[in-house]
Amino acid sequence: MKNRLEEIRKQHGIKQEELASALEVSRQTIGSLENGRYNPSILLAFKIAHYFNLRIEDIFIYEEELR
């Protein structure tokens, strides 16, 4: 699943480490999410959306046509 996490994080001027610490996940998880290698659980997706005051759909892009 594609996402705009890296773009949004950089817009907010936050380092991966800071985001990881705020979300209580490892920095590697943030890296994997940004690279699109890892799809988060719904709970983590909500946490990320809450952190940036956005909706999940604003961050994660569901591409039905690819499935």
Partner: protein, 142 residues
């Protein structure tokens, strides 16, 4: 694990190790089970001593650095880390199934006695049945 349990395991390990070493030196002509008992005690003692001391050292390091403790907790609970560990375990289980059956077949072809093959089959079936049981149990829970 509680601190007292770690201390107890370390002490028990030390005692077992000492008893094992003593038995190796004291028993001149061991018979029956006493041939292996000292070495079993040494092995178990070393394992318990190392495990207990490791836990105590870990606790000591964590107590000194709360930031490190928090990071360790995060890494342990991190959903990606948990997923990776579970995937690795599942792959390990899959390969173990094939290794077990290959070994079982090899023992059978070598003409090994029933006293080796039967416990092996029981262990193999136990593991496989436990996997099915876990599947059913987890499915009911979720």
């Amino acid at each position: 694990m509680k601190k007292n349990t770690s201390i107890l395991i370390t002490i028990l390990g030390t005692v077992l190790l000492a008893v094992g070493l003593y038995m190796v030196r004291a028993i001149i002509d061991p018979q029956g089970i006493m041939k292996t008992m000292p070495y079993l005690a040494i092995g178990l003692g070393c394992g318990m001593f190392g495990h207990g001391l490791g836990e105590l050292y870990n606790r000591h390091v964590i107590a000194k650095d709360p930031k490190l403790a928090k990071q360790m907790e995060i890494n342990q609970k991190d959903e990606r880390n948990v997923m990776l560990a579970n995937t690795a375990k599942a792959k390990g289980f899959d390969i173990m199934t094939y290794v077990f059956s290959a070994l079982l077949l090899a023992y059978a072809l070598m003409g090994s006695g029933w006293e080796i093959i039967i416990p092996f089959v029981i262990a193999y079936l136990f593991v496989e049945i436990y996997a099915v049981y876990s599947r059913v149990k987890i499915e009911k829970e979720q």
